[in-house]
Amino acid sequence: MAMQKQYYRRKKVCKFCVERIDNINYKDVKLLSQFVPERAKIMPRRISGVCTPHQRLLSAAIKKARSIALLPYATE
């Protein structure tokens, strides 16, 4: 039998679903930068908790922002 977990892990929720953010725009650097940690990689869903449809939109927006130098491809 599996041991019962002693700690309670808070269930991650998708920020975009909770806050009803539909428009994930490539120009919204403030929003997008929350999902690109130090190394400028795109944060995986298992860490951020973003749902699949929103993650898809998010990664597309981040890639567009990178292409016009609003976000870095990699940190120097």
Partner: protein
């Protein structure tokens, strides 16, 4: 005709008037090609996320355009040729905004539906209770 957003970065050492001149050129290319220019926004000087042609900064300009693909293609070609423009990006927006409208309409419909159900009272009770319990979680 589809909607596009054309964004480009101009060399940071270029003065304001020069940027206006570039914008005028882009504008004329679009209107000559039978397109419509919606909005021209100068977003000002911004730090670039990485070096572009050895520049750390750049002046951003954003065009909102309604034009055919061929016109946009021509604008891109012109931008590529201009020395002052160090980077550009074109994004098609109409499919995105269509999706947003759909979500918005759906949400409004649901809100209206929920309101009417509560007013009726009693009819599909099980469903109504479930819906009411949701926010407590």
């Amino acid at each position: 005709m589809p909607n596009y957003e054309i964004m480009y970065i101009v060399n940071p050492n270029v003065v304001e008037e020069e940027i206006d001149k570039i914008n005028g050129q882009v504008d004329s290319v679009i209107t000559h090609g039978g397109g419509k220019v919606g909005k021209v926004e100068k977003l000002g000087k911004r730090r670039l996320a990485y070096l572009v042609k050895k520049f750390r900064e750049g002046s951003y300009v954003l065009f909102t355009v309604e034009a055919s693909g061929a016109v946009v293609h021509e604008v891109e070609r012109r931008l590529r040729v201009m020395d002052q423009v160090i980077k550009y990006l074109t994004v098609r927006m109409d499919e995105d905004s269509k999706r947003l409208d759909k979500i918005k309409a759906h949400r409004e419909k649901r809100a209206a539906h929920r309101g009417s159900r509560r007013a009726e009272g009693g009819d599909r009770r099980g469903h109504a209770q479930q819906a009411e319990q949701m926010p407590e979680e």
